[in-house]
């Protein structure tokens, strides 16, 4: 099973990018993670530019999503919501709605923040957006609050409880993606 990991943050050393990296480290046997890290190259959505084919970076994102079985998001929270860059990328990816690359795609959302709540509101909003796009949203929530305490100076996730949560979240996403696994 191929899973695409997307961090919603552009910042070098972002906690969410580090969380996505830890997610990749926890991949069980049979799961191959790919990382999409080209968020900064997506232009601002403009319907005038929404032609076929779309901008190169947008088409690359759409292809990356089409080529995997599921997608994992690690999102920060800006002003109680999804970061603009990530929402903008999804607005591009969602077009046209009926055939967009996220349609029926199993997705999961986790998040980290410097504050105590672990981006729970951004996670909820991101799930809402993904559902509206037609994605198959897995029942996953992992909120990593006080993120600066959870990673060492090399950016390695040192909290074993969160690592357990990541493994569990991957399992839920796998079962969401594969009804046969869920029934087993």
């Amino acid at each position: 099973m191929k899973i695409l990991a997307i961090s919603g943050s552009l910042r070098h050393g972002s906690y969410n990018t580090l969380l996505a990296r830890a997610l990749v480290e926890e991949a069980p046997e049979g799961v191959e993670f790919e990382v999409w890290d080209d968020l900064k190259s997506i232009p601002a959505y403009d319907q005038d530019d929404d032609v076929v084919p779309g901008p190169e970076s947008v088409e690359a994102l759409r292809d990356a999503v089409r080529n995997v079985d599921a997608v994992f998001f690690a999102t920060p929270e800006y002003n109680s919501s999804v970061p603009g860059a990530l929402k903008n990328a999804l607005d591009w990816a969602s077009r046209p709605l009926a055939t967009n690359s996220f349609r029926n795609k199993p997705v999961a959302v986790i998040g980290a923040s410097a504050g105590m709540f672990g981006a729970v509101w951004a996670q909820a909003e991101l799930r809402k957006v993904l559902g509206a796009m037609g994605a198959r949203v897995a029942d996953v929530e992992l909120a990593v609050g006080h993120a600066m305490e959870k990673f060492d100076e090399d950016g390695h996730l040192v909290d074993e409880g969160i690592r357990d949560g990541l493994r569990e979240a991957i399992g839920v996403l796998m079962r969401t993606a594969s009804p046969e696994l869920a029934a087993a």
């Binding site: 709605l97 009926a98 349609r103 029926n104 559902g131 509206a132 037609g134 994605a135």
Partner: protein
């Protein structure tokens, strides 16, 4: 062979829906009125007094194409994993022109008991010599019973979409 002998009972024999003259639809209260969708690709059979029907979610039509896509997505019907909606009744109960069909409705893989009620006309012989029965049936279901929980709060605090959905089947059945 179908029987047309008695117009006060439930027709015996086998009767299949004429898809051109049959419509399955649903309506949801919205603002001052309702909005509706149809499911054109259907099959329905009345056999030995029991009505069965299948609707294919891929054919679902609404006037708003984005809403149509949303209704087919996992948040609503989940067309990819649950391509069909089914109804199977026990024996229809007819009283004059009124009819009742108690049965089981399956949407999104979830089966619930429902009772469709409405009117029945015929059997009668149409202009081309075919035996026909008309059924107009409807029931109200709570969409959240079928794992369709999507909603958005309006500024007033209530949800944008009602949970109560009226299902309608207007069937012309032809004797086989």
């Amino acid at each position: 062979m179908s029987s047309t002998a008695e117009q006060t009972g439930v027709p015996t024999g086998t009767w299949n829906a004429d898809p051109v003259h049959s419509t399955v639809s649903f309506e949801v209260p919205y603002a001052a009125n309702t909005f509706a969708a149809t499911v054109p690709d259907i099959e329905a059979t009345l056999a030995d007094g029991k009505l069965t029907g299948v609707g294919r979610v891929a054919s679902l039509q609404m006037k708003d194409e984005n809403m149509q896509a949303h209704l087919q997505s996992p948040e609503f019907f989940d067309q990819e994993r649950h391509p069909e909606v089914r109804f199977e009744s026990s024996k229809l109960e007819r009283d004059g022109d009124t009819v009742k069909a108690a049965g089981e409705l399956t949407i999104k893989g979830i089966t619930k008991p429902v009772t469709l009620e409405g009117t029945i006309s015929g059997p009668l012989v149409d202009h081309f010599g075919a035996n026909r029965v008309g059924l107009k049936l409807e029931t109200v279901v709570d969409r959240t019973d079928f794992d369709m929980n999507w909603n958005m709060p309006l500024p007033s605090g209530e949800g944008a979409l009602s949970n109560e959905v009226t299902l309608k089947a207007d069937l012309t059945l032809v004797g086989q």
